[in-house]
């Protein structure tokens, strides 16, 4: 007689417990298993979210001992009509768009190249993924040195190829360059992540599809656009989703590099939100700000996931 997992579990269950369980329905047993998780979810996610929504309608400041006043939609109205916050949103959108664009283009290209069999393939893969293994704080710090106008390697290299004086431009200090400086560092760090996802996609395409295309005398370019791209697209879209969510809340890297400056040029919404919540201690205001960001991300992510599902269904 073969021993099933259920039979083994029954054998080791003490009789007193077995008697109690025997009387429970399947639904009750399911609740016993799911209950702790639901409780944790409610305690750690849902309750704080509800509490934040409540606080967003008040003038509460966590560092002050004073009566909290209900001020309705005033916080929301202030945030949505504040031109400085819209500038932060623009800085975030610029950062999001260009980092994702470069990471997808370079990541996919690298994955395509790495997917070809050549000598040293594994070594190159390891070298390419190194940046994403580093801590953002470390990356921010050493790129700060690389960008240093007088001693930085980055400025030196640019100067070497363009003939410009390396100390004549400041990647982190000039309004027109600072937003690009953070895009470059994030792209350097996270392109390998996109590459790995694309590589997984490329390796999931069965060889026989290409062989069939070869038989049909499809050109390499045709094979690329009709087989490779459509079959990797769901993976690429997933990578975009991950990077989009990650970069929307980007904080550490940018704080290390520019601190949001020069002026407020690279002050992303996450940095601004942190300042409002934990430096100015405008808790109610910051709660409203967080809710607006949450709704924005949640809304955009939902639309995107629907699109992703449609692509998968094709």
């Amino acid at each position: 007689m073969s021993e099933t997992p259920a039979a083994r579990a029954a054998a080791v269950t003490p009789p007193s417990v077995a008697r109690k369980i025997r009387g429970l329905s399947d639904r009750a047993i399911a609740w016993i298993f799911v209950g702790p998780t639901i409780f944790l979810l409610l305690a750690i996610n849902i309750f704080p979210l509800m509490w934040t929504i409540r606080l967003s309608f008040t003038d509460f400041k966590a560092n002050r001992n004073r009566e909290v006043e209900w001020i309705g939609l005033r916080n929301y109205q202030r945030i949505l009509t504040d031109s400085d916050i819209w500038l932060n949103m623009q800085a975030t959108a610029h950062f999001l768009f260009w980092t994702i664009f470069f990471q997808v283009v370079i990541g996919f290209t690298l994955a395509y190249l790495i997917n070809k069999k050549f000598k040293g393939n594994d070594l190159w893969t390891t070298i390419i993924v190194l940046p994403m293994m580093l801590s953002p704080a470390v990356v921010g710090n050493f790129w700060k040195f690389l960008y240093q106008p007088q001693i930085g390697l980055f400025n030196y290299v640019i100067g070497f190829f363009t003939g410009k004086d390396p100390s004549s431009f400041e990647m982190l200090g000039q309004v027109n360059l600072a937003p690009w400086s953070i895009v470059i560092v994030d792209t350097w760090m996270w392109t390998p992540f996109v590459m790995l996802i694309c590589l997984a996609g490329l390796r999931s395409i069965p060889d026989y599809i290409y062989e069939a295309a070869e038989v049909d005398r499809a050109s390499k370019l045709r094979q690329f656009f009709t087989i490779t791209v459509p079959m990797v697209l769901p993976f690429l879209m997933l990578a975009v989703l991950f990077r989009g969510i990650e970069n929307f809340k980007m904080f550490d890297l940018v704080v290390q590099l520019t601190g949001g400056g020069p002026g407020s040029t690279t002050e992303l919404t996450s940095i601004n939100l942190k300042r409002e919540a934990f430096e100015k201690w405008r808790t109610g205001y910051a709660s409203a700000y967080a809710i607006i960001l949450f709704v924005t991300v949640f809304g955009l992510a939902s639309i995107y996931v629907k699109a992703l599902n449609k692509v998968k269904e094709r």
């Binding site: 020069p262 002026g263 040029t265």
Partner: protein
């Protein structure tokens, strides 16, 4: 024989006293910023440990995170610190939010008189509401923003001659803000010993308080006022006065024409680095660093000298420094108060100054030998006579961050005009005070 008896009695008394105190010995934690004076305080506190039997631990936080870390600690009612040497601007919040123990009763009981300390420091570090006899801290570390320069470069004949030829006057410590800029511009990108050097390193940091501390060093000499009438929160025409606009434009010009490339986010550390690496002729920084700078083997000693922030329309220096407070959430308040009592002693204050701390005690400052006790002592006294501080309101952080943003936007990011920056600052501050119900 008499001497032996006396020695025996003394030894017994000390032993008894130490046994008694050991019985109630506490582990006290003192929190402060991580910088040169903090090391001096560790040294000084050894005497307290041996006298009281209490054990002292220290929690020193790097300056850029000091306010964040400590204010979070206070706001959460944390028990990490029994004693806190907090920034002067925190006094309002410390008092109104109940973070600091009010010390009046203790001072009266122990005979500690605030008139024994320099008036400016008592006003700035101890009182809330400002200027009232309600004390929440003992002045611990007097400080102001000052300047230091390469005395060896200023003394070289070739440089002196070049300066005279360029400006028509002798190269010497500046007597006004405009002279300061002129000297800095003279040194900007000048070749000295085969190396390109720059004018001066100034504060431009965005994240905490850097650029505000730097710009106010120009604003105060131009006659900047926070309010038209003290206590009225009436800022229109004061904060954005023509003098303030001129001072802000001056600072921007200084930043653009007389600082090393890449100094877009620099504060204390960057200023010290620039000077010690021989990159700049002059630098602004807090007096607290001056003992360490003077002792530096490469750029200190005969190569360095110091001057007070130059006047323009009037004398004015940005106040630094801190008072020492007992944290209201501490379970060891009695022992913490013992430390304050010990620290207020004139002999301890004299030793504090000798170790590199800036005592605010009159017995130290008025000592006839004080001015000659260090090359920067006279400048320190002069600076403390004309210091001005930032808002010390409980909402100081909101006020400070608004100023950081407006100043950095204008000075470093080159956005808008000085008038617009200060007008926006008035609007920001007005909103903050309206939220507080003060306007």
């Amino acid at each position: 024989m008499k001497t032996i008896k006396l020695a025996s009695v003394s030894a017994l008394s000390i032993a008894a006293a130490s046994l008694a105190s050991t019985a109630q010995a506490e582990d006290l934690t003192l929190c402060w910023a991580a910088w040169d004076p903090a090391n001096a305080l560790v040294e000084l506190s050894k005497e307290f440990e041996s006298q009281s039997g209490h054990n002292m631990s220290f929690e020193f936080i790097p300056w850029p995170n000091f306010a964040d870390r400590m204010l979070n600690e206070l706001n959460s009612g944390g028990k990490l610190c029994d004693l806190l040497i907090g920034d002067s601007q925190w006094i309002g919040g410390g008092a109104e939010n109940g973070h600091y123990v009010k010390l009046n009763e203790f001072f009266d009981k122990e005979g500690i008189s605030m008139s024994d300390f320099a008036d400016a420091t008592v006003y700035a570090y101890s009182t809330w509401p400002k200027g009232t006899p309600n004390y929440y801290a003992l002045p611990a570390m007097g400080d102001a923003n000052g300047w230091f320069y390469r005395k060896d470069w200023f003394g070289r004949d070739d440089i002196k001659a070049a300066f005279k030829a360029e400006t028509g006057r002798d190269l010497a410590e500046p007597k006004s803000q405009k002279e300061l800029l002129e000297i800095a511009q003279f040194f900007q990108e000048r070749e000295i010993d085969g190396k390109t050097v720059y004018g001066a390193s100034i504060f431009t940091e965005r994240g905490s308080e850097g650029i505000t501390m730097g710009v106010t060093s120009a604003l105060y000499p131009w006659g900047f006022k926070y309010e038209n009438t003290p206590g009225s929160y009436d800022m229109e025409g004061a904060v954005n006065s023509p003098e303030a606009v001129e001072a802000l434009e001056f600072y921007k010009e200084f930043y653009e024409t007389a600082t090393p490339p890449g100094y877009t986010n620099s504060y204390m550390g960057e200023s010290l680095d620039a000077f010690k690496s021989g990159q700049v002729a002059m630098a602004m920084n807090w007096f607290a660093f001056f003992p360490g700078l003077y002792a530096d083997p490469n750029t200190g000693g005969e190569k360095i000298d110091f001057f007070v922030n130059p006047p323009q329309n009037q004398a004015g220096s940005t106040l630094g420094g801190q008072g020492i407070s007992v944290v209201a959430y501490s379970d060891k308040q009695d022992a913490a108060l013992e430390y304050i009592k010990w620290f207020a002693d004139p002999d301890v204050q004299a030793k504090w100054w000798s170790l590199g701390g800036y005592s605010a005690h009159n017995s130290v400052l008025n000592d006839p030998g004080f001015v000659d006790s260090a090359p920067f002592a006279g400048d320190f006294l002069e600076a403390m006579g004309s210091v001005q501080d930032f808002w010390q309101e409980p909402v100081y952080a909101e006020l400070l961050l608004a100023m950081q943003k407006r100043l950095h936007d204008y000075v470093v990011a080159d956005q808008g005009t000085a008038q617009e920056a200060l007008d926006k600052l008035v609007a920001d501050w007005t909103e903050v005070f309206e939220d507080e119900g003060k306007l």
